[in-house]
């Protein structure tokens, strides 16, 4: 179940953010507060973005930023953020991002269940579209509850 991995206050909705870095910092807050990650985890995602591009934009409107366990991840954690106005993650093919799901994992195997559950959600086109269009925290929570 996706819910069991979501950090406290790990579903947020905001109207707008200035830059993609700000969106990453905002979505990371619940993970930081629950000590799933250290601040350097966010720095590492930003650094990789500069080196490799926004490869974590995995679908039009959807980003799943994450880094490696050794970059400061201590626990499995998930945090959802919807930005109503969208954020430009510099991805030419996938447009503005509205849903950002930050993931942390302490090693390369323990989060298999998380990826499986997210994969089920992502493979349901209706729910995926609804998630990306959500402007209300309760709507997001209702979708997540199903997986």
């Amino acid at each position: 179940m996706i819910n069991q991995w979501i950090c406290k206050d790990g579903v947020q909705v905001t109207n707008t953010v200035d830059r993609w870095e700000d969106a990453l910092k905002l979505v990371a807050e619940p993970l930081l507060k629950s000590e799933a990650i250290e601040p350097k985890y966010i720095d590492s995602i930003i650094k990789e973005h500069h080196e490799l591009g926004p490869y974590y934009v995995i679908y039009p409107g959807l980003a799943m930023p994450h880094s490696r366990p050794e970059d400061g991840a201590h626990k499995i954690g998930l945090s959802f953020l919807n930005v109503i106005d969208g954020v430009d993650f510099e991805d030419k093919d996938n447009g503005l991002v509205h849903t950002i799901i930050m993931l942390s994992a302490p090693d390369s195997n323990s989060h298999i269940g998380v990826i499986q559950s997210l994969s089920e959600l992502f493979n349901n086109q209706d729910d995926l579209d609804k998630l990306i269009e959500s402007k209300d925290k309760n709507d997001i929570e209702k979708i997540i509850e199903k997986y």
């Binding site: 679908y59 799943m64 994450h66 994992a105 298999i112 499986q116």
Partner: protein, 90 residues
């Protein structure tokens, strides 16, 4: 059996998602292959019959001899299915 290596920046998230979808599609197409996922650095020294990943990532693997498929949208199973068909038909 052909080996397919799914690659992403750190071998944890997107490559894992793609691998699950690749396995589903291979079942559907009734084709068998060795599928695994890894990070970009490891992929550079791992031989495989083809490499699949987001276009931002797999471009870094292009040495002129590797067979590389860059996906625009990694959750698009239609794009993935036509990629796999292309690989197995050639």
């Amino acid at each position: 059996m052909k080996t397919i290596l799914i690659v992403c920046g750190n071998g944890l998230g997107s490559s894992f998602l793609i691998e699950m979808n690749v396995n589903k599609i291979l079942d559907k197409l009734d084709v068998k292959a060795n599928v695994s996922h890894t990070d970009l650095t490891t992929a550079k020294s791992t031989p495989a019959d083809c490499y699949i990943g987001s276009k931002d990532i797999v471009g870094n693997l292009d040495d002129g001899s590797r067979k590389i498929y860059g996906l625009k949208n990694i959750l698009d199973n239609n794009e993935l299915e036509s990629t796999l068909k292309d690989f197995f038909e050639k």
